[in-house]
C-alpha cells in the first residue's frame, strides 16, 4: 500500500505543510520588519564626517592622543563628529552602541546646526558597572525620519578588549 487518501502519513504531511505556511508568514514578517527599519532610501552625497575615536577624560571633557580602533575596558573614549558638512534640512543624532546593542552614549536628535557645539560624543560605562563591556562598539551618525533612524550617514566600529 502506498500513501493514499486515507494514509495517516498524508495527515502528517498536511500538518507539516500547515506549519510551513505559518513559517512563511513568520519569515515574511521578518522581511517586512527589516524593510521597515532599513528602508531602501538614502540621501545621495550626504555623509557625516566622523573625525575619529580618541581617549577621553570625563573630568575635563576633552579627548587626547591618536585616533584609535582598540581600547581597554578601563579606558574612556569618545568619538568626534564634524557636523559642518551636513545640510540643515535633516534631523540627525550620533549614537554609541555597545556589543549588546545597548545605547551607551548619544547626542541629538537635532539639526546639524543645533548640534554644532556637541562634537565630542563619549561612550559611557553602563550604570552599575565599573568598566566598559568588551566587544565591538558601533558609533553611528544617523538620519532620522519621523523620529526613527532610517540611514547611517557616518560610522565607526571600535573594539573594547577583554
Amino acid at each position: 500500500m502506498a500513501a493514499g487518501a486515507s494514509d495517516p502519513v498524508r495527515t502528517l504531511y498536511r500538518t507539516l505543510l500547515a506549519y510551513g505556511a505559518f513559517a512563511i508568514l513568520i519569515l515574511a514578517a521578518g522581511v517586512a520588519e527589516y524593510v521597515h527599519f532599513e528602508p531602501f532610501t538614502s540621501s545621495p552625497g550626504v555623509h557625516a564626517k566622523v573625525v575619529g575615536v580618541y581617549a577621553y577624560d570625563p573630568a575635563s571633557r576633552q579627548t587626547s592622543g591618536p585616533n584609535r580602533e582598540r581600547f581597554a575596558r578601563n579606558e574612556q573614549f569618545a568619538a568626534i563628529v564634524d557636523w559642518s558638512g551636513l545640510p540643515q534640512s535633516i534631523t540627525v543624532e550620533a549614537v554609541w552602541y555597545d556589543s549588546f546593542e545597548n545605547i551607551v552614549g548619544s547626542v541629538g536628535p537635532g539639526t546639524p546646526d543645533e548640534l554644532r557645539d556637541q562634537t565630542i560624543v563619549p561612550a559611557a560605562v553602563p550604570e552599575g558597572l565599573k568598566y566598559h563591556l568588551p566587544g565591538q562598539y558601533i558609533f553611528a551618525v544617523e538620519r532620522l525620519d519621523h523620529g526613527r533612524p532610517v540611514e547611517v550617514l557616518g560610522r565607526r566600529v571600535v573594539d573594547v578588549e577583554r
Binding site: P8, L17, H36, Y131, I138, V150
Partner: protein, 459 residues
Amino acid sequence: MSAYTLRTAANPRPRNRPARYTIAAVIGAVVILIIAGNSLLDYVFIDTIPARATLYGLVAVALIALGTYIQERALNRDPITRRRHLIRAGVLLGLAAMLWLLLSDLFLFAQAAGPVVAAVCALACVPTTAFGLWVVRRIDRNEKEPWRLVLVAAAWGAVVATSLVIWAETFWDTIAANTLVPGPGLDASNAFSAGLFEELGKGAAVVLLFLVMRNEFDDVVDGIVYGAAVGLGFNFMESITYMTNLYSIFSPEGSGGIAAGFQWYARQVLGLFMGHATYTALVGAGIGIARQLPSRRQKVIAIIAGFLVAIAAHFSWDAWLTFFPIETSLFGLVEVHLRTVVMTGPFTAGVIVLLAMGLRNESRALYAQLRKEAAVGAGAVLPAEVDILASPWRRFGERLRALDKGGFGAYVRLARLQTAQLDLAMERWHRERREIDTPLEAEQELRGEILTLRRRAAF
C-alpha cells in the same frame, strides 16, 4: 550470512547500493571542504595564537576523510571484517571529533575565561545534556534508536555544525554591522543569518542519517529523535561558549559566576528542549515524514517545509527577543520563563503534536503487522504475543517477569527477542508501503534469527 547475527534494523542494507549514497557522499565532501576552508580562514584572518592553532582543523579533516573511507570499505565486507573496519573508522572519527572539540570550540571560543572555567562550564552542561538525550531516545517507545547513532547526531551538533557556521555567520554579521542601522533591522538581519546557517548546519546531520542509515530511520518519530539529538549537541557547545563569554565579561565586575550560572539555567534547563532541540527536531520531522511519502516531489517539499519551520522558529527567537525585555526586579525571573514559553513554546508544541501523531501511526501499523505475522504461522510472532508486543508497558512487564525467573541474562535475551520481533513488524510495514529497497529474503533471514533468539530466550 552467519547462523546468528543479531539484526537490529527494520530495513537491512540493500545489496546494490542505492543512489542516495552518492548524494550523501557529495554532502559529506561539501561539509569537509567547508570545515577545511574554515580552518584556513581562522589561520589567515584571526590574529591570535589559539586561532592559528586551528590549523589542526586540517588534521581533523584528514582523520574524518580517512575514517569515512574505511567506513565505506566496511560496507562491502563480511560481518567480522566489517566490524573491524567499523571499529577503526569509529576510532578515527572519534579522534577527529575530540581534536575538534578540545582545540577548536573549547580552546578558541572559551579562551577568554581560561581553561579551568571552560572545563567547569562543560562539566556543568554534561548531566543536563545527557538527560536530554536520554529523554529524547526514550520517547521512541516502539523502536529505540541505537545509542551510537544518537551520540553521533549529538556530536555532529556540538562539533561539526558549530564549526560549519562560524565563518558564514561572522561574514554576514560583520557586513551587517558595517552597513545597517543598528536596531531592529540589524537584529532581523542577524536573526536571518543565525536561523539560516545554523539550521542548515545542524540539519545536514539529519539529512546524512536519512541517506546513509535508512535502516535506522523509519518515520517521523525517528526524524524527531535524531533532530533533537543534533540540537542538544549544538546547545551543549553553545551553552559553554555563552557561559565562558559572559563569565569573562562580568568577572571583573565580580558577577562572572552569576552571569555564567544564569546562562546555564537559561540554556541547559529552561531552554534544553525549547531551543535548538525543538528547531532541529522540526528539520528531523520533515525528513522523517519524507521517508514515508510516495513521490519524490512530496519528499522534497516535506524536507524543505521542515527546514523552513526550523529556520522560522529560530529566526523568531533571535529577532524578536528584544520585544520581550526582562526587568531587573524579582519579577524578571518570572518574565524569563514566560518569554521562553511564549516565544518557543508553540514550536515545541508543534513538535509534540507531530510526535504524538507519528507514535500513534507507528503503534497502529506495528499492531496490524504483528497480527499479520502471527497469522502466517511462521513462529516468529505467536498470536498470544501480539497484544504484549504492541504495548511498551506490557513488553516491559514481560521482561520484568523474565528478570524475576531467569535473572538479568533472561531479561536481556527477551529484550533482544522483542526488539527483533518489532524490527520484523517494522520491516513488513515498510514493505507493505513500498518504502523498502531490500530483497524479500532479508525478511526471511530476520524470521530465522527471531526463532534462534526465541530458543535462547526460553526460560
